[in-house]
Amino acid sequence: MMLELLPQQLANGLALGSTYALVALGLTLIFGVLLIPNFAHGEFYMLGAFVTYALVATGLNFWLAMATAVVLVVLIGWIVDRVVFQPVAAAPGHDSGGHGSGLSLMISALAGSIILQQLATIIWGTEARTIPAPMTGMVRTSLFTITYLQITIIATLAVAWTAVWLVLHRSRLGLAIRATSQNRDAALLMGISMTRVRLATFAIGAALGAVAGALLGATFPIYPSMGVNPVLKAFVVLVIGGIGSLPGAIVGGLVLGMVEVMVAGYGSSQFQDIGTFLILVAVLLIRPQGLFGRAQVER
């Protein structure tokens, strides 16, 4: 084994895993609080990258572009919730308790994802583009080198995680969100405004997705279907970490990033994705509620 490469692999895996964790954090929040399997989350990520790209192309500074993109994607997230999810949840046929629960939400999420993807294809075309990197250069140590951008991504995850934790645990809004995720009916009875909880949850989720997209878009090429793989990986992370568990999303994301880089480094990059989903299958078979999941409520 090429052990001298290990620290370098770990550094790369940490950076890759951080983007997975960012996407998974938003996804698990939306699922944990609102019980929405948001397949369109990958499109928040994709739009974050493309709006940043479009704004940078007009000459705007990368960080300003990213901030604007986050605001726009949050607006899009609200529209998606209003148009795609709320009508389905309110439809008479939708059962919120039975076995088939979530089937129609899942289907409408798939529809929303395809619609956003095809709209992006119509606007920007299918060819891959790149956002000019906002910073170059790297830190070299005796063991590994890490680019400033990778450090930024890891730091962003730390900041985002802290911010989400503070909102959830140190604000009245966060209290409302946590109450809703524990028991929606009881929360409604306590006078918690579901509209505010929905808006806040989608805003946080979409913002996290957009930031991840913009940062990764500065490293890798962007294209309209770029959100598909990360959202699938984020679902894998959710399942590994336990659906609705925020620490699970972080740890799951980092572990997945590390494993992928290891598989690609020591095995073959062709098997990178297969490795991911083999982990998924293994976790689901051995511990269906996920590593950090509480005993799964039978739905």
Binding site: G93, G98, H99, S104, G112, I114, I115, V228, L232, V236
Partner: protein, 335 residues
């Protein structure tokens, strides 16, 4: 539900429609014959997929890959091992059914979102495997030179017409087999699972066997559809078997056509596969239209076109009688 119609009547009706569509198909030019073939193959996929989604209540996203498995099995058997189409077709169906059963055994340990995510992962692994094993599958470049289905001498039609007839024939077989399945004890057990799995278990219904049968059934016919697709197109590539292409398309066909009926998915396949092809709509716009249609139907008519048609038929029959209005009820309340 089509429960009120007896099985022989369903078979006779299906046969009549089959003969009529064959007669119409023979009048068409080559391009429209191709449209009929593709539409019928997707209808086969949609009908068998609905046995799982509409009748049993499980959303599988692995069926794009299972369809591909049938296609590659047929391609390898006929092009590399010299099998005839008629031998390769059932073998491809059996292989896909066997793999489908294994996938089902893995996936049914989970339910709801977990089931969708797990089958989605399996669908992606399948698609990746078509790319990775390029010595067998041809990788990205695709599998070239698959022999077409051999044609009997007495049937004097063009090869494209023959493909269309085969596809319509497979659709007839699928429809009749699915009709028999949903009327069987297994089918009744599947409905019980869809409605309330806990209750079904409590009543002593063999849940595991029934849903395994439903998944395997849909896998076998996905494999047969794939085999016919490979043989008639002479060329297949992994891009035809993606999760978000074919896998998603299947969901759209079934939901728009009507979950829980067998003819609804056929209507869905005609509207969403054959029609855009016939009108030569650009792929981007047709996928966008899929998304919009799917969303509109999930929100406003979750039971699809089939339920709309049924409702229209009902109100048409009732039309002579004046519709009862709310007045008697109101009187009751006020008195």
């Amino acid at each position: 539900m089509t429960g009120s119609n007896s099985f022989p009547r369903t078979v006779i009706a299906a046969s009549a429609v089959f003969i009529a569509s064959c007669a119409v198909a023979l009048q068409l030019n080559d391009y429209y014959l191709y449209v009929v073939t593709i539409g019928a193959i997707f209808a086969v996929l949609a009908v068998s997929f609905d046995v799982l989604l509409g009748y049993t209540g499980y959303l599988s996203l692995a069926h794009g890959a299972l369809y591909g498995l049938g296609a590659y099995s047929c391609a390898v058997l006929t092009a590399n091992h010299g099998f005839g189409f008629w031998t390769a077709l059932p073998i491809a169906g059996l292989i896909t059914g066997a793999v489908g059963a294994i996938v089902a055994l893995l996936s049914f340990r989970t339910r709801g979102l977990y089931f969708a995510v797990l089958t989605l992962g399996i669908g992606l692994i399948g698609h990746q495997l078509f790319l990775v094993f390029d010595e067998v599958t041809g990788g990205v470049g695709g599998f070239v030179g698959i022999p077409g289905p051999e044609q009997p001498d007495w049937l004097r039609v063009s090869p494209t017409a023959y493909s269309a007839l085969l596809a319509l024939g497979l659709l007839w077989v699928t429809f009749v087999a699915a009709a028999a399945f949903v009327r069987s004890k297994l089918g009744a057990a599947c409905l019980a699972i869809r409605e309330d799995i806990t209750l079904a278990r409590a009543l002593g219904i063999r849940v595991a066997g029934a849903r395994l049968a439903a998944f395997t059934f849909s896998a076998v016919f996905a494999g047969l559809a794939g085999a016919l697709f490979a043989s008639m197109s002479n060329f297949i590539a992994p891009e035809s078997f993606t999760v978000l292409g074919t896998g998603f398309q299947l969901v759209a066909l079934v939901v728009v056509g009507g979950m829980g009926t067998l003819w609804g998915p056929i209507v869905g396949a005609i509207l969403l596969t054959a029609l855009p092809e016939a009108l030569r709509v650009a792929a981007t716009y047709s996928l966008l239209a899929y998304g919009v249609l799917l969303l509109v139907f999930v929100i406003f008519a979750p039971k699809g076109i089939a339920s709309l048609l049924k409702a229209a038929l009902k109100s048409f029959r009732k039309a002579p009688r004046p519709a009862p209005d709310a007045t008697p009820l109101r009187r009751e309340v006020t008195s």
